[in-house]
């Protein structure tokens, strides 16, 4: 007996697998699912019943995915939404990346973009509506076919059954719909939560079979007829320009086809990637560093520290923290410093492009294909509709594949200009780590005082770091009074700009200022949870400092500060119970907590650590409670929490990108250390029961872990860490 799924469409991977294994399938192979840029037109064999749903005669039902899948599980949750209303066997659904057309733009961003932990929230009504409208259309067709009232029909698992026993598949109704030009209704009723049989239940990843057999197609796996490969010699100082290059040695390598300068450096084209990369290493390039060779992270840190003492742009001023601090008997002050961080996705940046006289085709894993298309169209002087992007799966992104400059795409397009075949550019791991897009370095200065009972009375925080959004196309939306709302996201008590949430805490006097130092050198870039990756550490660690100053239990203090925020208060009570917070710990062990609100969803984590005398430590236990509204796919949420915890723990333990003389010092996984399986604690995930509309869960777990661990280390040792990563300042996560 085969243990493979019985559905024929889910079996197609095996066919291609054996074909691949025998080598009979080479360039331009047909994938088990289509990467076609446009949906098949309605015709004899298939029908688009809706922008998102296509039904084939053989009853294959395909969901067009308008959000990118990079491990986030969004293909699964979107398919679940359709399946719930369409009454289709969940396992039967197929998926396909939707093209770059307006009907597929994110309803939240108004552009084709997957970001901000809002995909599931934004899709929750549209995708269910698509399923419900399609079902109504099919029922209408069956009524017509059998001349029966709709009340005599039931839908189940892709079939419509008449009360008298007759049945017809959804695909079997295509002809009726086409012959009679039937249209779906303008409005439909959606199922109430109580009637759900798919949504809210743990569902396994829809594309998992492809991912355990090597059949999943990532950008780097694209093969096109005649395709050649390119490797780029990039400058040691990011942002430098080519003055001249000597390619004699490179051209002497058999298999090297061409060498040419592009904006990013000098590209060597060859018959395979290995040859191209050897060619790139054999080049001698003369660079103009445009004065960037003097930049260093040490100088940035020093400058930002000085800047943090000066008055910044005022983001929030509740009460009179400044006035209070001028007269208070004791003001506690601390400075927190967080380095640049690389994303280091498992799949390095890559892109395949073919440039024709009048159009351009691109195969790439991207979060941001709307902007990518705009950038490329402008660069080539083509109308946007003449730039076609085929979105693939992605081997991680953490924000990196939402490039504002489409940097890893323009490389390939420029390399493909003047060529008659497609060109695939692959970044080496070293190029990827040194790729110049990082979570910005930030310095936060915090000052606080306590009231007579030892609770925080005042808070004055100054955040200093390069703005991500300033002078980008998102400037008008994300800059408020010249303040990047990401620079202070997670510091403010009140909603700010387009972010409709604050911290869950209430401190009577609360002032937050922001400085935007010049955007020079590398690019400040979104990194999973964006601003919270630094504001979370600064805020939650300093809150811990105030708790200890006021002789308060850190979790009890957070419960006190959330008295007016029932959602977070209830979540913290749950955390207290499930984490055994009040159980005593042995000497050398410590417990820490942090609670955050990111993209609307509250989340909190409690951790336990064990620290040796030499500062080496283990994270023994992580307990996480999250409230993301209605839990669309509990299994997917669990995965996102576990993954977020790992990435956040990895960053706080080891993560840092250093610039010395303008050059990124790190290069590969030996000096930009990833967390490994033997260091990964089990993460206990608890989801608050809720019928509120779903909110984000993809980035939330990344941020509480870092301050929770730092606070636990303080609890265990009495040593407060205010500079990161931990392994540079006395605490090394055991290998």
């Amino acid at each position: 007996m085969s243990n493979l799924p019985s559905d024929p469409s889910r079996r197609t991977f095996l066919k291609s697998s054996s074909m691949l294994a025998t080598g009979s399938l080479l360039v331009g192979f047909e994938l088990p699912y289509s990467l076609a840029s446009t949906p098949k037109p309605s015709g004899a064999a298939s029908l688009m019943t809706d922008a998102f749903i296509r039904i084939d005669r053989d009853n294959t039902i395909t969901v067009l995915m308008n959000h990118a899948e990079f491990g986030n599980g969004v293909y699964t949750s979107l398919a679940m939404m359709v399946a719930e209303e369409l009454d289709i066997d969940w396992q039967r659904l197929q998926w396909e990346a939707a093209p770059t057309e307006p009907q597929y733009y994110s309803p939240i961003f108004g552009e084709y973009l997957t970001a901000g932990s809002v995909s599931t929230a934004g899709a929750f009504v549209p995708m269910r509506t698509a399923g419900a409208k399609t079902k109504a259309l099919l029922v209408q067709a069956a009524s017509l076919l059998w001349q029966s009232d709709a009340t005599q029909l039931t839908t189940n698992a892709g079939w419509i059954t008449h009360i008298d026993g007759r049945r017809v598949s959804y695909g079997g109704l295509i002809k009726v719909i086409q012959d009679h030009n039937l249209e779906p209704p303008k409005t439909v009723d959606l199922k109430p939560t109580s009637a759900f049989s798919v949504l809210g239940f743990p569902k396994k990843r829809i594309e998992a079979p492809e991912k355990v057999t090597g059949q999943a197609v990532f950008g780097i796996d694209i093969k096109r007829p005649g395709m050649i490969y390119g490797a780029v010699a990039r400058p040691p100082v990011y942002g430098s320009r080519v003055i001249a290059f000597d390619d004699k040695a490179a051209r002497a390598i058999p298999g090297v086809l061409k060498v040419k300068a592009i904006d990013a450096g000098v590209v060597v084209l060859a018959k395979d990637y290995w040859t191209a990369s050897k060619g790139a290493k054999a080049l001698t390039v003369q660079w103009d560093d445009l004065g960037l060779g003097q930049l260093s992270t040490a100088a940035f840190t020093k400058d930002y520290r000085a800047l943090s003492k000066t008055e910044g742009l005022l983001a929030e001023d509740i009460g009179d923290a400044k006035g209070l601090h001028a007269t208070a008997s004791a003001v506690h002050e601390a400075v927190y410093e967080m380095p640049y961080l690389a994303h280091a996705t498992m799949e390095p940046m890559n892109c395949t492009a073919q440039v024709f006289d009048d159009r351009c085709e691109i195969w790439v894993g991207t979060q941001n294909q709307g902007n990518d298309r705009t950038v490329v169209a402008k660069m080539l002087g083509l109308p946007e509709t003449s730039v076609v992007i085929h979105r693939t799966l992605m081997g991680g992104t953490f924000g990196r594949r939402a490039s504002k400059t489409a940097d890893f795409i323009t490389d390939a397009v420029q390399a493909a200009q003047g060529e008659t075949v497609p060109v695939q550019i692959i970044w080496s791991r070293e190029e990827d780590i040194r790729g110049g897009h990082y979570r910005p370095l930030f310095v936060h200065r915090l000052r606080g005082s306590l009231d007579a009972e030892g609770y925080p009375a005042s808070w004055h925080q100054t955040a200093v770091g390069q703005s991500i959004m300033q002078d980008t196309k998102h400037d008008p939306t994300y800059m408020v009074r010249d303040i990047d709302i990401y620079s202070v996201d997670g510091c403010l008590q009140e909603p700010f700009g387009v972010f409709p949430y604050g911290t869950a805490y209430k401190i009577p006097h609360h002032r937050v200022e922001s400085h935007n130092p010049p955007k020079v050198g590398v690019h400040p870039h979104e990194w999973r949870a964006v601003g919270h990756t630094h504001t979370g550490i600064a805020y939650e660690c300093f809150l811990d400092e105030l708790a200890h100053l006021g002789d308060k239990d850190p979790l009890a203090l957070r419960l006190h500060l959330t008295r007016d925020n029932n959602r977070m208060h209830q979540l913290l009570l749950r955390l207290k119970a499930v984490s055994d917070w009040d159980q005593p710990l042995a000497t050398g062990r410590g417990r820490g907590v942090a609670a955050r609100v990111y993209s609307v969803s509250p989340i909190a984590q409690a951790v336990e650590v064990t620290v040796d005398r030499d500062g080496s430590f283990t994270v023994d236990r992580v307990v996480c409670v999250v409230d993301c509204g209605f839990a669309v796919n509990p299994l997917g949420i669990e995965a996102q929490i576990q993954g977020g915890v790992m990435l956040g723990l990895n960053a706080v333990a080891y993560g840092a990108i250093d610039l010395v003389a303008g050059q990124v010092q790190q290069s590969n996984f030996h000096d930009y250390r990833p967390l490994r399986i033997n260091q990964m604690p089990d993460v206990e995930v608890h989801i608050m029961q809720s019928d509120a509309p779903p909110t984000g869960v993809g980035e939330q777990a990344t941020t509480p872990i870092a301050p929770a661990v730092a606070n636990a280390l303080f609890h265990a040792t009495g040593k407060r860490i205010r500079q990161f990563p931990l392994d540079r300042f006395g605490f090394t996560l055991k290998a």
């Binding site: 493979l4 491990g71 990637y273 290995w274 498992m346 799949e347 590969n668 990833p674 490994r676």
Partner: protein, 158 residues
């Protein structure tokens, strides 16, 4: 021209002899399930089986494996069934982005071939060379235990 035996079939390629097996598999044979991650044997994404043992293909010159037996992720379910590790991976819903998973599965399969019921510590030791940036480690551990149990129960072998 170099001949290697990939997934039970002799294949002759015209790659330069210093080409790592990884790029021969990917660019010459279009077996793209084996992934590039670091190029210096630090991440495990490129893991294949060489004569039944898990090896890193990104630093292994193709000339060093001439006429030897190479098995890739594409071949694990060649008989029509997932192997025990693949089945357990699906049951535990391990993959997130999935990019490292070919290497993880090849390593786990080799582990279970050598040690049919590994402890947590033995799993950690065998899998510590395999990086996952999505953080699927907890589920990898669970899936390996599940595969070990299913294999003992007489299910498909790893």
């Amino acid at each position: 021209m170099i001949t290697i035996v990939v997934n039970d079939e002799a294949r002759t390629v015209s790659a330069s002899p210093d080409t790592p097996l990884l790029w021969v598999l990917r660019d010459h044979l279009h077996l793209t399930g084996t992934k590039y991650g670091c190029g210096i044997s630090l991440c495990g994404a490129c893991t294949v089986h060489l004569n039944g043992e898990a090896v890193r293909s990104c630093t292994l010159p193709v000339s060093a494996v001439a006429d030897q037996r190479v098995e890739t992720i594409e071949h694990l379910a060649a008989g029509g069934d997932y192997n025990a590790v693949q089945s357990a991976w699906l049951e535990e819903d391990v993959a997130q982005c999935g990019y490292c998973q070919s290497g993880q599965i090849m390593a786990a399969t080799a582990l279970l071939n050598n040690n049919p019921s590994p402890s947590d510590a033995e799993i950690d030791a065998a899998m510590a060379g395999h990086i996952c940036r999505c953080g699927t480690y907890q589920k990898i551990r669970a899936a390996i235990h599940r595969a070990a149990k299913e294999t003992k129960r007489g299910g498909p072998s790893a």
